[in-house]
């Protein structure tokens, strides 16, 4: 009997796992990454970067000083402008972009912000966005054009953009902090850096997609290269570029709010952080809502830019603006901070949450502890350590392990006899992981296992790349923390895959279900990461379970979307063929739709993984261990070495996961001939 590639890989991993576990008692270095194999990477990076940064410090400080002017100016203008005028302006812009709907959205959104009493903080946030977005757009445009014009650079630029997308947001902040010093300018620059890649990506994509004949028509018209680019190609790519503008705006807003952790600026993100720290959930909730409102406003309005434009009468806009001006005169003395229409609401929320947690504390604790003791903890440290008399009612002994392995072995034999060799071996491996716990997996097994998966997914090259990258993490001494991050993101991704897959399936089967799910997904994708922390904190306090929930809420969306999309976009002729062969609805789903959707669903999983890693770092604010925590700590201590190394380790994990899943998706697509 010859073994398939998958079986060989699985068998190899299993062998290494068994060997390591057997030898662990006499060779403990097989489990923990041996200290002899580490180098003081964090110190090296720290020293190197500090020296490097010191070189640019004067320049950066100068830049920081220069940037503070437009920033203060924007802050001053937005802060000092009478609020009716600002509302009028936003409403007028809404009208120009999207007619009555957008105008109403603008008026209602800012009206809410005004009434919330967070007007000043909001305007400060907006000022940061207003200054950082043009910076990001210019950078993005320049990078996009450069990459397009110099094809030799294209690959490199794409790679850098890829990496920038996986490096966690917090990791940017530490070196910037060192470079630019404490203060809002860091937030500004971080957000410009963070928001430039989506812009660059879309500019490049848009330019690449300009129809060859349109390009040639410009050439044959006798345009110079610059004329071709600016008069024809960029305008022809406008739709895609506007998608970039939308993403750029959203990224900037998200980052501006995250950057509030640096502090020193009275913006809305800071307000959330402050109230959250003081456990004032009502105000935190309200401030979070203000952020959500901003996100929705900016997103929906700028999304209109990428749609085919209807013209809306400009005169209406001028009218609205005039009205705003008149109102400004009337309400001149009205300080927007005195509005507090929702204070009672906030209090009510506070009280409500307080009462709810008091009344249902037992239930909430039950949920939390249940998930921790019976789910997360065993996954982290393994059944052998997690099962204690105190929680499970008995003590885990070698006998229990033997039973689990025995059952898994029987299952494996059964599967192998039915011809599913790989599945059988994988069952054994899973049993091993469950008993041992992810954070205590022997490192040789992790390396061999990832290498094996890489080999199946993308051949030797991918396998080698993944292993080398992981070894880098080990060598820099972050292995344990990386495994902790891996465990939490793995748990969340697993939960997202199950829940999101089920919801996606539901959305595919029922139109009503999708009508409900879709707006929820839309909103969840619009909300800046930070805001997810508020509701979980309200009910579950600081801790790993809250982090887990926050990650799941954010990362589940792509899984839902892609699953549904894959399932509903099966070509109609395939379905008709199946129907005419007499297949039932469920049969069609299982035999036709699901295999056809597999590559799309894998892409969704891929996105979910990236989302989970992104959130993992943010979730460090409410208590996770692992790399996220290190990055957050580094930020607090302005420790560039730790921040960057941990950030890089995080990026490596995300990158490896990304490549592996992409490889499988690619393989599935090829198998389907897509």
């Amino acid at each position: 009997m010859s073994l398939s590639r998958g079986s060989i890989a699985a068998l190899m991993s299993l062998t290494v796992l068994v060997l390591c576990l057997l030898l662990a008692p006499i060779a403990p270095w097989l489990v923990k990454w041996p200290a002899a194999l580490t180098v003081p990477m964090t110190e090296w990076v720290g020293a190197g970067m500090s020296a490097f940064l010191a070189l640019f410090k004067p320049l950066a400080r100068g830049f920081s000083w220069a940037m503070s002017y437009p920033m203060n100016a924007a802050g001053y203008v937005l802060g000092q402008s009478p609020w009716p005028l600002v509302i009028g302006l936003v409403t007028a812009i809404g009208w120009v972009l999207g007619g009555l709907r957008m105008a109403l959205l603008g008026a209602a959104g800012l009206g809410f912000v005004l009434l919330s009493g967070y007007w000043h903080q909001s305007m400060n946030t907006l000022a940061l966005v207003v200054v950082s977005v043009p910076l990001a757009m210019i950078m993005g445009l320049a990078i996009g054009i450069l990459a397009f014009e110099v094809p030799r650079l294209r690959g490199a630029v794409q790679a850098v953009l890829d990496v920038m997308q996986t490096v966690p947001t917090f990791a940017y902040l530490t070196p910037l902090l060192v470079l630019f010093g404490f203060g809002p300018v860091v937030g500004l620059i971080a957000s410009a850096i963070y928001a430039a890649p989506p812009m660059a990506r879309n500019v490049l994509l848009g330019l690449e997609r300009v129809d060859a004949e349109i390009r040639e028509a410009a050439v044959m018209s006798g345009g110079t290269r610059r004329q071709q680019l600016f008069l024809v190609e960029i305008p022809a790519a406008a739709t895609q570029i506007m998608v970039g503008v939308n993403q750029c705006l959203m990224a900037a807003l998200s980052m501006v709010i995250i950057a509030a952790v640096i502090g020193g600026f009275d913006d809305i993100g800071w307000e959330v952080l402050l109230t959250m720290r003081k456990a004032q959930f009502g105000p935190a909730f309200l401030a979070g809502l203000v952020i959500v409102v901003f996100a929705i406003l900016i997103d929906r309005m700028s999304a209109k830019l990428a749609e085919p434009r209807q013209r809306h009468d400009r005169r209406v806009s001028w009218g609205i603006l005039l009205l705003g001006g008149l109102m400004s005169v009337v309400f001149f003395s009205q300080d927007p901070a005195t509005f507090g229409a929702f204070d009672s609401l906030a209090e009510a929320v506070d009280r409500g949450v307080g009462r709810f947690t008091a009344n249902h504390g037992a239930t909430l604790d039950g949920i939390k502890n249940g998930a921790m003791f019976y789910g997360l903890l065993p996954l982290r440290i393994g059944l052998d350590d997690a099962v204690l008399p105190f929680t499970w009612g008995f003590k885990w002994t070698a006998v229990h392990s033997a039973i689990v392995y025995g059952v898994a072995g029987l299952l494996a034999v059964f599967l192998v006899l039915r011809g599913r060799v790989t599945a059988g071996i994988v069952a054994m491996i899973v049993a091993g992981i469950l008993v041992t716990g992810i954070s205590q997996l022997p490192w040789p097994f992790v390396l061999v296992g990832v290498g094996a998966i890489g080999w199946i997914s993308g051949g030797w090259k991918l396998s080698r790349l993944c292993v080398i990258l992981l070894v880098l993490i080990g060598v820099s001494g972050l292995w344990e923390r990386a495994l902790l991050s891996l465990y939490l993101s793995g748990a969340s991704v697993f939960a997202c895959a199950v829940v999101g897959g089920a919801l996606g399936l539901w959305g595919a089967l029922s139109k009503t279900a999708w009508a409900v799910l879709r707006p929820v997904c839309d909103i969840l994708q619009t909300i800046p990461l930070f805001v997810f922390l508020i509701p979980v904190l309200m009910f579950f306090q600081i801790g790993e379970f809250s982090a887990f929930l926050a990650i799941c809420m954010y990362a589940v969306v792509p899984m839902i979307r892609y699953t549904r999309h894959g399932l509903v976009t099966t070509p109609p002729d395939l379905i008709e063929a199946a129907e005419s062969a007499g297949a039932t609805r469920m049969q069609i789903l299982r035999e036709v739709r699901a295999p056809y959707a597999a590559p799309t669903i894998l892409l969704g999983l891929n996105q979910t993984i990236l989302y989970a890693f992104a959130m993992l770092v943010i979730a460090a604010l409410i208590g996770t261990t692992g790399l996220g925590q290190s990055i957050y700590l580094a930020l607090g201590q302005a420790d560039v070495g730790l921040g960057l190394t941990a950030g890089a380790a995080m990026a490596i994990l995300a990158l490896v996961a990304d490549r592996l899943v992409q490889g499988f998706a690619e393989e599935r697509r090829r198998a389907l001939g897509l």
Binding site: E216, A217, A218, G222
Partner: protein
Amino acid sequence: MTGTDTAPAIAVEGLWQVFGPNARAALTEARADGAGTAATLKARGLIPAVREASFEVASGELFVIMGLSGSGKSTLVRCISRLIEPTAGAVRINGEDILTASDKRLIEMRRDTLGMVFQHFGLFPHMSVADNVAFPLKMKGEGKAARRARALEVLNLVGLEGREDAFPRELSGGQRQRVGIARSLAVNPDIWFLDEPFSALDPLIRRQLQDEFLSIQSNLQKSIVFITHDIAEALKLADRIAIMRDGEIVQIGTPTQIVLNPVDDYVREFTRDVPRGRHMTLDEVMEPVGETTPAGDWPELRTGMNLETALTLCAASFEAVPVQDGDGKVVGVVHPESFVRALGGEHG
């Protein structure tokens, strides 16, 4: 090095376009090898899209390039207009070598001498019809008012008056191609490239545009390279036709020559469904006799008449029928068997 009056509008000599890495070196090597250059290139994974193309287009001539999809027609015309750099060979426009022209000179030539129409129109989506048409003029630096006036003038010429402020997306396929034609004519170029301009249109519109194209051409008398894969279109429009196969020009000739004397099966296959009677004239089937005046009651057959017409005139005849020249003198006779032979395809 501007050309003289006698230089052909376009002269192409030994033109090669090879796609793939290091094409130029590979081509030189493969040619040094001698026979089977294209095969050698293909074996090395390169694509010889145009091989050794040579032809001339006279001033005012309508030259059609035709061939199956993928035979290299577009690539050839893109080489001539230097939208892509040929791998080897020479292209002269009005006697001037375009391949060695500087970027500046190239832009000048495109602004003044060359015009191009694209298969899928290549209209700028963000510009109105008038702005699209005026774009080449804008490149030349003409003023706004002059541009608009000229744009309206050419739009008139192609029958699109009144639609100047529409956007391309608001037009039908036929109207879009009219815009494309108008744009290429805006600067009144001497040399006009059309890459399958009517292929994306339905047959009715296509015929209508072909007729309009011919009438425009009869007024403007431009030197034209027209690409098509439709033999009927080629025969209808062309002064001369070049037939391409796998990047190679296999035959160049007038429509009649192509129909009557296909050089090989490939060309014959193209012309198989062409009603031969429509492209063959009496001159080619009659047997010459000494000059006499016709005696008796013969149908009036004249030299230059195509066989289809002649056949309807003397369908009932079992004997040889005399053929007269323009002056009414009998210059030959044509036997009924000759008709049968010619139309049956046993010619040549």
